[in-house]
Amino acid sequence: MSDVPPPNPRANDVWIDDRGELRYFNGNDWVPYPDVPDGDLQPGAVIKGEED
């Protein structure tokens, strides 16, 4: 835990800030790591030829 992020980060590097929150480097900036919400949405794509 520190108030200074690690130098020269790569994508998906992690950092625990001074408040104990997890942050990750998204390629541009250190952003808070979110919790993925539950959801039952289906992918909106079907890849199939003619029905047999």
């Binding site: 990750y24 790591y33 993925v36 539950d38 039952d40 992918p43």
Partner: protein, 239 residues
Amino acid sequence: MTLQRPDPAAPGTPMPFDALPSPLDAVDDLRSAARWMIAAAGAVGAVLLSGGPLVAVGRVTGLGHALIAGAALVVALAGVGLAIWQTSLVLVPPVTTPSTLRQDSTKELREIIDATPADFFGLAATSVEDLLRHRAIAANLSQAVMAEGDPRRRAVLERHLRRAQANIARTDPYVRWLLATAHVWQIQAALRRARWFSLVAVVLVAAGAVAFFWVTGQQGTVYVPVLTPQITAPPTHHT
């Protein structure tokens, strides 16, 4: 009343994706198309090597014409070989991993998904990269946990590691669907590439065949034996 959510980790648990056909169902259709293309190319090759051209070769006289005829036949057969070789690549199963989704071969698929991520991932991710990042973050957290000596900091890291693992469990069905889609995408790209090579092959076969039949048709007059009835006895006149 409590809503019981299915455990994604439990084997045999029906997932929301089960309502849709698997993307992998398309693989058989794509490979069936490839088999037809290979059969067609093979038929052309068989015709090129069949009796007609070989009979025509027999009429070639002179080294120059023979070389031209041979080269033309090689060009035509190279076209057939090119078509079969490229189309057979469709039948070779590609290896699809999360890193495949970062390659140029799936760039178009990424762009389609990233344009409307909610259609594909719902609330689980805002992009393909966002969907795939949880394993990398969990791995980095695991390394940090192992390297941390302070118990308090270690506990904080372990708490976040559990969050990352929960995120992996929630996003895994989407990752599996995405990998299956990328797998089909690669086979579809191979089939599309094979069609272009087949077009090139048609040009090669046509050029070779035209040159071959032109040179075999330039061998001067062909003398064909003709049977002429011969009168061997004088006609008799009956008076």
